[in-house]
């Protein structure tokens, strides 16, 4: 198995992916231990879900032009304020574990950097644009834009693996929270 893997020119990429997968599980494990299993997180999550659904129903009713529009608007504002407060409290509750997870990620990145510094771990099937190339060609010799450093590969692994893992385990942030938009990163407080 080891000889088969080492026969690939870019077998280092598999090591980066493997380490990313293990790190993702480790980070979610830490987050579960420090946040997700606590009763305060569960109650905050539940109140955010309820407030989001209530807000949706009220806004749908509002758009259909139901009578008593002024009081309806006030109620919507109250629910929105409550939703923002709950989201803020949820963010605060994740600070402690967020710091631990950030430390783990920092250490793992440092380890990967020391292992693969100056080495192209994979080959890109496209030439990346300026800003992306700064990350993908970070620390690499030569001018070949398709040489890819560990940093870019690790970035792709982190986003794809951790986002899907959080989704699969049910730890993704609720849809009602701010920041769950076009570019939802893995829960930022656990980064």
């Amino acid at each position: 198995m080891a000889s088969l893997l080492s026969s690939f020119k870019y077998s280092d990429s598999l090591a980066v992916v493997g380490i990313s997968i293990c790190t993702a599980f480790l980070c979610e494990g830490i987050s579960w231990l420090l946040i997700y299993r606590t009763s305060s997180y569960k109650s905050l999550r539940s109140s955010i879900d309820k407030a989001s659904k209530k807000l949706e129903t009220m806004k749908t009713g509002d758009s259909k032009g139901l009578p008593g529009k002024k009081s309806k608007t006030k109620k919507i504002d109250r629910v929105e304020t409550s939703l923002k407060e709950s989201s803020r409290d949820l963010s605060f509750s994740k600070i402690k574990s967020g710091a631990v997870v950030a430390l783990v990620l920092f250490v793992v990145f440092g380890l990967l950097n020391s292992l693969f510094e100056g080495k192209a771990v994979t080959k890109l099937p496209f030439s990346p644009a300026g800003v992306v190339q700064k990350m993908s060609h970070r620390g690499l010799p030569g001018n070949d834009p398709t040489d890819c450093s560990m940093a870019f590969l690790y970035f792709l692994c982190s986003i794809s693996i951790r986002t899907n893992l959080q989704k699969f385990l049910g730890f993704a942030p609720p849809r009602g929270t701010p920041g769950a938009g076009l570019f939802p990163m893995p829960d930022p407080k656990t980064n």
């Binding site: 020119k9 870019y10 990429s13 992916v17 080959k123 590969l153 792709l156 692994c157 794809s160 939802p184």
Partner: protein
């Protein structure tokens, strides 16, 4: 007698879980089914991830080279999602926050997954 009852109970449980799985998959193709915003968002997210995985494997195996194939993937996966919720599920997008909200579910994660798989397969299979 008791063994007979427990065997019957197990068979009933298995039939129920079989019925439940059939029900869940049937709902994915049922235009009459009612959808919760979260449920639909999750389904669209996972469909995008599957499309990203398949495209990444295919693009890397052929191989397709050039940044244009990233655009092709984005158009293809968005087209599949749009076709799924508008043609197969016949959903009124206004009830779920509009086309933007439905099309953005899982978009970024699928793009990074697609790039990861494409890059890996390309590097490992062709060098």
């Amino acid at each position: 007698m008791r063994e007979g009852k427990s065997v019957k109970f197990n068979i009933q449980q298995q039939q129920q879980s079989g019925h439940i799985s059939q029900f869940k998959f049937a709902k994915l193709l049922d235009p009459e089914a009612s959808w919760d915003k979260d449920q639909l968002g999750d389904v669209l997210h996972w469909i995008r991830q599957v499309v990203a995985l398949v495209c990444g494997l295919l693009w890397g195996a052929v191989p397709f080279i050039g940044a244009i194939w990233i655009v092709v993937f984005l158009v293809l996966s968005s087209g599949i999602i749009y076709g799924y919720y508008s043609i197969i599920l016949k959903i009124d997008e206004e009830d779920f926050g509009g086309h933007g909200a439905l099309l953005q579910d899982g978009l970024f994660a699928s793009l990074t997954l697609f790039l990861l798989v494409w890059i890996l397969i390309y590097s490992l299979a062709h060098f």
